[in-house]
Structures are given as structure tokens and as C-alpha cells.
């Protein structure tokens, strides 16, 4: 027997069981929201591409979410999954087959109706090596993925179009993260005819089903989104227009915000101005603070002496004065004691981590056979504040006798060193740190702590590979039933506790997000620190000075 699951909201599940096509609870639109108006967002850098199969930086991530939709999404401002282009879905008892029923009447910006064929086409496209998608690997659990990835097949054999509005996915293993995977940008649905029309330039001419459509793109100057009047979600979006102005230094953006010329500085409050802004009550009132799915850590290469000794790694964990490091970034973070950030399901609130204890750290080093310490290298990215943070860590390490020389390099060079087994003994992750692709505990394991990531060019820079934990991770991910998600989160907590025993990382802090907005912007605070929409949830915010 198959189980029918709709959303996380019990009421809607009930509604579906009764055969109703009701408006789900999370579909309710903010009654205070005003319709219309335009906002201006600024960015320093050019927007790379708006192709959902390719865009993978925090700047275009949220823009793409407003132009395109996927089968799944999250309730605005939260990490709770909900069906999106899918009206409902069902999971087979073995957790290996997912069937989605699509919403009727959803239209692409070109006016054509979106169907199950488009979903299949989009997934075949993103996994095809010719697309060069950085997200192809997320679909590894779908049957036939390996053949497509190897160029032996053009189409995923595990994805079947049952009828116009039904699509079925067969997986090679039970995958509890699959619904999250269907919510990430790489799984967003694109129309074949538009992709074929623009070819490699589809990213400059995006056509999706999203709340906004692209109205103008003047390279290096501005991108304009306008409201999609045909958006399937009635009542959304609230704004008529969003203008992204490109090439604005964060400091200039802040000055313009203060003069009322713009609404959100997309790159955030510049660090040099942070204290000044927070000291002014009028400005502080317009800053929204929230957690983000981020952890900053120091990796220690577990295959390189002396970091192959767990005691040395534990000593480093005890040597770093996290409170002082956080001071360097004006208190824009909270201390971390485990890989998962506090807002991530599976975060272990009971776990206390390694205390800051210089004496004990020294003792551990002595036990490991290094009573006088040793010399090593600490790699860090060369943009502020990372070199300063690396220096603070360097001083902390010096206090227990470890003399670390800092290698301050461009981001790509640090990443290259981390992916080389003999490349970097220690790396401060700042500027390249893991920010979760989706709010699930497994996302902090596989690529950065699992054996799969400990390969040349991988992201497991501590080269930590614990086969036993890999097996436990696979076991946790086979718990597909959402009703058992609490149990699954506990399994993941245990995995991370064990990781911390082996201490391949010294977690340092979890960055907080601070979004500043103009006084005219309205909507709940959590829309401005939305865990998946950075900086803000464009679809749900509104302006107060219209009508």
C-alpha cells in the first residue's frame, strides 16, 4: 500500500484525504500586504547566469527562485518543505519510488502550460554532462544517473512521465533527502523550446514559471524583474517590479540606502560600517538578524602528520578562542561546537563540544609526542576579514606551541590546495565555508566529511574518511518516512557527535545574517533572513507606501 503525503501541515493532509483541493495553510497570503510598487536592490558583482541548471552562487540563487519553480519548495521564511509545482506526492513504502501529481494550469512566462514532460526534460538536461551543471551530482540517487553522467544515455531511465500531470521517480536507494533535492534550483522546471532557442545563452534569457519574469538585462548595469501576472499562486508576488543595480560597492550602497535611494543592499552591511549602523537606533531598527545554514571551521588534514593523531586535532579544538574570533567580525556570529549550524534539523543542543582550555590543549599535545609544538601551515582566503581571523587563530595556536605560517591566497587557490591530499595541513574555511544547499543534516556530511568528498578535487579538506560513519549516514538517509524525521535527525546528531570525537575540524562559528532594508519595506522579519532565499524572499515581501 502506498502512503499519500501532502505537506507538513496536518490540515492539508486531511483535506487531501477527503479529496479536497483546498488552499493549503501555507498558501495564505499576508493580509496586511499591499499590492504593487517597486524596489531596488544593489550588488557589487555582475550576476553570473539565471539558468537554474548552472547558477550556484548566493547572488543568483534567490533570483532564480523567483523566476523558476520546482516540484517542491519551502514555506516562506522557514525550512519546512511543501509541494510547489507538485500538488501532492506519494512515496512507496520502500522509499525508492516518488510520484508527483502536478498542478494544473501552471504557465511558463511564454504562455505555454507546464507539464510532466517539462519536468523530465529539465532533469535530463541538468544531469547531461554537456550542460556542465555544478548541481548534476545532487541527482545521483535517480536510476539511470550514472549512464547519463557518463554520456552513455541522453535520458534518466528512472524518470517516467505517467501522464500529462503525473511524473514518477525511481531511485537506486531510499533517499530521505530526495524531496529537498526536488526543491533546489537545479531541479527547477525549464521549457524545452526556450532552452533550445537560446542555447548556451538561456541563462541570459530565462523563461520559467516563477512569480517574476525578466524584463530587462543591461550587462554590467541592471536587471529588472517584473511581476508575472499569470503566476499560478494567486495573490503573489506583491511587488510589481524589482530592479537589481549592479556594480555598487557595499559602502556606496549603504550611503544610498541612508539617503532613501535603494531598498536592500544585496551584499549586506559593510563590516567597517557595522558598528556605526548598529549604534544608531533608527538604522538598527531596519536591520533584521537571523541564523543561516553556515559553519566556519578549521580543517586539519587527517592524512598528514602530525594531524593524523587525533590528540593533536583535539588540542587544536581546545586552543582556539572562539569568542575572540567573533569579536574580529564585530560579533556577527555565534560560537560553534559541532559541524551543524543551530538552525539545521539534527543540531545537537545537548552537545557541549571542546572547551577553550589552553592547559589541557598543551597536555594533549605533549601526550601526542609534541610537548614543544610543531610548525605547520594555515591556509586562508585573502579577502577581509579572513586573514585577520587566520591571524587570531595563529596566535591561539602559538599559545600551545604550534607555529602556523599563514598562506593567504585567492579563493580558487585555497580550494585547489584543499582538494590536493598533500596540499594544505590546515585551512580556515572563511569565504569558502559550507553553506547548506538545502536544510537537511546530510548536506553537511557527504561532500565535506564523508569518504566521497575525500578525493582529489573534493571538498573534504580534512581528508577524513570513516567507513563506519558512512554506513550510518546511508542508514539515516534510508529513513524516508517524514513521520520518522525526528528519529532520523537523532541518527544524524549521533553521527556528528562521533565526527567531533575524531575532530577532523575545529568548528569556530556560525555566521548570523544581518539584512538591512528601507523603512518602506513590509512583511514578516523571517522573509528578510529566509534560510533559502538570500538576501530576501522576493516573492513575499511588499512595500508599505503604495495604494
Amino acid at each position: 500500500m502506498k502512503k499519500f503525503l501532502a505537506s507538513t501541515v496536518a490540515a492539508s493532509a486531511l483535506a487531501l484525504m477527503l479529496g479536497m483541493t483546498s488552499v493549503r495553510a501555507e498558501d495564505a497570503v499576508d493580509p496586511n500586504a499591499k499590492q504593487g510598487g517597486a524596489i531596488t536592490i544593489t550588488y557589487k558583482d555582475d550576476v553570473a547566469t539565471l539558468d537554474p541548471a548552472i547558477g550556484y552562487d548566493w547572488q543568483n540563487w534567490s533570483m532564480i527562485k523567483s523566476l523558476f519553480d520546482g516540484l517542491m519548495d519551502y514555506e516562506p521564511g522557514t525550512t519546512n518543505l511543501k509541494p510547489d509545482l507538485a500538488e501532492r506526492y506519494e512515496i512507496s513504502p520502500d522509499g525508492k519510488t516518488f510520484t508527483f501529481k502536478l498542478r494544473h494550469g501552471v504557465k511558463f512566462h511564454n504562455g505555454r502550460e507546464m507539464t510532466a514532460d517539462d519536468v523530465k526534460y529539465s532533469l535530463d538536461r541538468v544531469t547531461n554532462p554537456k550542460t556542465q551543471s555544478p548541481g548534476a551530482g545532487f541527482f545521483g540517487s535517480i536510476k539511470g544517473y550514472d549512464d547519463v553522467a557518463a554520456g552513455k544515455a541522453e535520458s534518466l531511465s528512472g524518470v517516467t512521465v505517467v501522464d500529462t500531470y503525473t511524473i514518477k521517480f525511481e531511485l537506486t536507494r531510499p533517499d530521505a533527502t530526495f524531496l529537498h533535492v526536488m526543491a533546489i534550483n537545479f531541479a527547477h522546471v525549464v521549457p524545452k523550446e526556450e532552452v533550445e532557442k537560446y542555447g548556451a545563452d538561456f541563462g541570459k534569457h530565462p523563461v520559467g514559471t516563477g512569480a517574476f519574469k525578466l524584463a530587462e538585462w543591461t550587462l554590467g548595469q541592471r536587471i529588472v524583474f517584473e511581476r508575472n501576472a499569470d503566476y499560478w499562486h494567486k495573490g503573489l508576488p506583491h511587488l510589481d517590479k524589482i530592479t537589481f543595480e549592479i556594480g555598487q560597492e557595499p559602502i556606496v550602497a549603504l550611503l544610498r540606502l541612508q539617503k532613501g535611494e535603494i531598498d536592500v543592499p544585496g551584499d549586506g552591511i559593510p563590516p567597517a560600517k557595522f558598528q556605526e549602523v548598529m549604534a544608531d537606533p533608527e538604522q538598527k531598527a531596519r536591520v533584521v538578524e537571523g541564523g543561516q545554514l553556515h559553519t566556519g571551521y578549521v580543517t586539519m588534514n587527517t592524512t598528514m602528520a602530525p594531524f593524523d593523531n587525533v590528540k593533536v586535532r583535539q588540542a587544536v579544538n581546545m586552543a582556539i578562542n572562539k569568542a575572540r574570533v567573533i569579536q574580529i567580525i564585530n560579533g556577527r556570529a555565534v560560537p560553534a561546537n559541532q559541524p551543524l549550524p543551530p538552525s539545521m534539523p539534527g543540531y545537537d543542543k545537548e552537545y557541549k563540544g571542546y572547551p577553550y582550555d589552553v592547559a589541557k590543549a598543551k597536555a594533549l599535545l605533549a601526550e601526542a609526542g609534541h610537548p614543544d609544538g610543531f610548525e605547520t601551515q594555515l591556509f586562508a582566503m585573502n579577502t577581509d576579514p579572513n586573514p585577520r581571523i587566520a591571524q587570531a587563530i595563529q596566535q591561539d595556536l602559538a599559545a600551545i606551541g604550534i607555529k602556523a605560517s599563514i598562506q593567504s591566497l585567492a579563493q580558487a587557490n585555497v580550494i585547489a590546495a584543499g582538494g590536493d591530499k598533500a596540499g594544505a595541513p590546515m585551512i580556515w574555511s572563511g569565504g569558502m565555508a559550507w553553506i547548506a544547499d538545502f536544510p537537511d543534516p546530510s548536506n553537511f556530511y557527504g561532500p565535506i566529511l564523508g569518504c566521497a568528498g575525500a578525493v582529489p578535487g573534493g571538498w573534504n579538506w580534512s581528508w577524513y574518511c570513516n567507513k563506519d560513519l558512512d554506513a550510518k549516514a546511508a542508514e539515516a538517509d534510508s529513513v524516508v518516512d517524514p513521520a520518522k524525521s525526528g528519529e532520523r535527525d537523532k541518527m544524524w546528531s549521533a553521527i556528528y557527535d562521533k565526527v567531533m570525537e575524531d575532530a577532523p575540524w575545529a568548528p569556530v562559528f556560525n555566521e548570523q545574517r544581518f539584512t538591512m532594508k528601507s523603512a518602506r519595506m513590509g512583511g514578516a522579519d523571517n522573509l528578510y533572513v529566509d534560510p533559502v532565499h538570500i538576501p530576501i524572499n522576493y516573492d513575499n515581501v511588499y512595500v508599505k507606501d503604495v495604494q
Binding site: 558583482d45 555582475d46 553570473a48 547566469t49 539558468d51 548552472i54 550556484y56 554532462p129 554537456k130 556542465q132 551543471s133 555544478p134 548541481g135 548534476a136 551530482g137 545532487f138 545521483g140 553522467a149 557518463a150 554520456g151 548556451a200 545563452d201 541563462g203 541570459k204 543591461t218 550587462l219 554590467g220 548595469q221 543595480e245 549592479i246 556594480g247 555598487q248 560597492e249 556606496v252 550611503l255 544610498r256 539617503k259 535611494e261 585567492a410 579563493q411 580558487a412 587557490n413 580550494i415 585547489a416 590546495a417 582538494g419 544547499d437 561532500p447 578525493v455 582529489p456 578535487g457 571538498w459
Partner: protein, 306 residues
């Protein structure tokens, strides 16, 4: 003349070829793997290899360089690794803004520099002369990002005379042009001063003075046209200095030109764009120098082309 031109053209082409080879080699040696950057952090080694093959980055250096040159001849600078757009398109879309800024900067440096130099020469030895020369010295030495931010703070933030960064109207153009122009203005002021002093010592000026011509007429009708010639010949060479300056100035003012494009590309290690902008800049510099050399004998007959 024709022989000279032919020789200079061949030299220019060789310089461009050299620039392309050196830049390509440096970027090739960079310890960062563009393929991994494109493939992203969730890519399998197989995906990485696939992309490497598609981009031809698995080929030896010589093959890669040869392919690049072949495409270059047809005006194809490749596709950006990060933005995934044609580099030619990215550069062409940003070139007008940079050219406009350059014109603005040339106007600023000429207006400022020439008038400062003229006044200093006429008031030679006075406090005005000394003040102007100190000012020109400061102008030449001040880093452009400092000048830019200072101008921005005073004239845009405090006084609100000009917009804070951006592009579109003449008012947007003033502050960035001034920032770029101040550097050159310092040079021009000094050159103009010495050139003017030189001219003012000439016999024909003394004759004009002896004839009883008005001071204004001597200065503007007789001395200035002669003093200004060697200065004008320098503008072509300025293009090289501007090419360095636009990277900083465009970033400070949010000016959508190729300098900003280059800065972003360097930060993101977007090799095709770095290559493209370097070649376009080298081309502009070579062209500027060539024009300066060709024009020079026309405005100053003492110079001969050989």
C-alpha cells in the same frame, strides 16, 4: 612614412602576440583549476573530467594556446567560466562606458593641468606657483581609490551635488572623470609649466612684448599654441595610464566599464575574461602609442619619423 608605419604595425602585432602568450602562460600556471570551479562542489570526478574534455583543458599548453589564437583571429574570445556568456559580448557591452570615462578624464586633465601649468608659469616663483606645484605633486602621488572616495564623500554624500556612483547622466560622469583626471592633471601642470616657461623665454615672445602687445594676447595667441603642442602629443600615451586607472576608479564609482569587469574576473579567477580584457587593453595602449607617434610630427615639426 609608409615604411615607418609598416614597421610600427608589425612591431605592434608582435607586442600583442607577446602579451597574449605571457598572459595565457601565467593564467595556465595559476594553481587554480577552472574546471573544478565550473563543476562545483557536488561534482563527481567523472563530471570534472567530462567538462575538462569539453573545454579542451586536458590538452597540452601549446595546443590550448594555438586554439585560443585561432579563435582570436575571428574575434572569438571564448566564453566566461563563471558568467557563461561570450567574452566578446561582455567586453563590447562595457566598452562604451570606459571610452566615455576616458574622454571625460582627458577633458578633466587637460582643463585642470593646462590651466594650472599656465598660471604657474606666468606667476613663476611666486607663492601661487609653489602652491600649484605642490598641488600637482599631491595629484600625481595620491592613490586613485583615496581620491575617488574623498570626492565621493565631499561632493556626493555631504554636498549632494553629484549622484553617489552609478551611470547614465553627465552628472554621473563628473566625479569619476575628475578622479582619473587629477593624476594626469598633475603631470600636465608640470609639463605645461616648463614648456610655457621655455616659450616665454623665446625671442618671438620678447619681440611681441617689445611691440607693446597686450599681455593676454601674447600669452594666448603667441605663447600658448606653441607651449601646448608637446603636451598634446602625450595624450596617446595617457591611454596606458588610464587602462590601469579604470580598474580602480570604475570599481569605486560603480561605473560599468571594462575595468570593473576585469576586477570582478580577477577576483573570481574567470580566466577567459581576464585574457580578453588584457588583450583589449594591450590593443588600446599599443594603438594609443602608435597614434601619438604618428601625430607628433604633425604638431611638432622638430620630430621626424624614422
Amino acid at each position: 612614412m609608409i615604411a615607418y608605419l609598416g614597421r610600427r604595425l608589425i612591431q605592434s602585432l608582435l607586442i600583442l602576440l607577446g602579451v597574449s602568450l605571457i598572459t595565457f602562460a601565467l593564467l595556465y600556471l595559476l594553481p587554480a583549476d577552472p574546471v573544478r570551479q565550473i563543476a562545483g562542489r557536488s561534482a563527481t570526478p567523472q563530471t570534472v573530467e567530462n567538462i575538462r574534455q569539453q573545454l579542451g583543458l586536458d590538452q597540452p599548453f601549446v595546443v590550448q594556446y594555438w586554439r585560443y589564437l585561432k579563435k582570436l583571429v575571428s574575434g572569438d574570445l571564448g566564453r566566461s567560466y563563471i558568467q557563461r556568456s561570450e567574452v566578446t559580448e561582455l567586453i563590447v557591452s562595457r566598452l562604451p562606458a570606459s571610452l566615455l570615462l576616458m574622454v571625460g578624464a582627458i577633458l578633466c586633465e587637460l582643463l585642470l593641468g593646462l590651466s594650472m601649468g599656465l598660471i604657474a608659469a606666468v606667476k613663476r616663483g611666486t607663492a601661487t606657483d609653489q602652491t600649484l606645484m605642490v598641488a600637482s605633486f599631491v595629484g600625481v602621488s595620491a592613490p586613485q581609490f583615496v581620491v575617488g572616495l574623498l570626492l565621493l564623500y565631499v561632493f556626493a554624500v555631504r554636498l549632494s551635488w553629484f549622484p553617489i556612483g552609478g551611470y547614465g547622466t553627465w552628472r554621473h560622469l563628473v566625479l569619476p572623470s575628475l578622479t582619473m583626471g587629477i593624476l594626469g592633471a598633475g603631470w600636465y601642470a608640470r609639463m605645461m609649466r616648463s614648456s610655457m616657461i621655455d616659450v616665454l623665454r623665446q625671442d618671438y615672445v620678447r619681440t611681441a612684448r617689445a611691440k607693446g602687445l597686450a599681455r593676454r594676447a601674447i600669452l594666448f595667441r603667441h605663447a600658448l599654441p606653441n607651449a601646448i603642442l608637446p603636451v598634446i602629443a602625450m595624450i596617446g600615451i595617457d591611454i596606458g595610464i588610464f587602462m590601469g586607472g579604470i580598474v580602480v576608479v570604475e570599481s569605486v564609482f560603480g561605473w560599468p566599464g571594462i575595468g570593473q569587469l576585469a576586477w570582478q574576473a580577477i577576483q573570481r579567477v574567470d580566466i577567459p575574461i581576464i585574457m580578453g580584457v588584457t588583450l583589449v587593453s594591450a590593443f588600446a595602449i599599443v594603438l594609443g602609442n602608435l597614434l601619438a607617434d604618428i601625430i607628433a610630427p604633425f604638431i611638432d615639426p622638430r620630430i621626424k619619423l624614422r
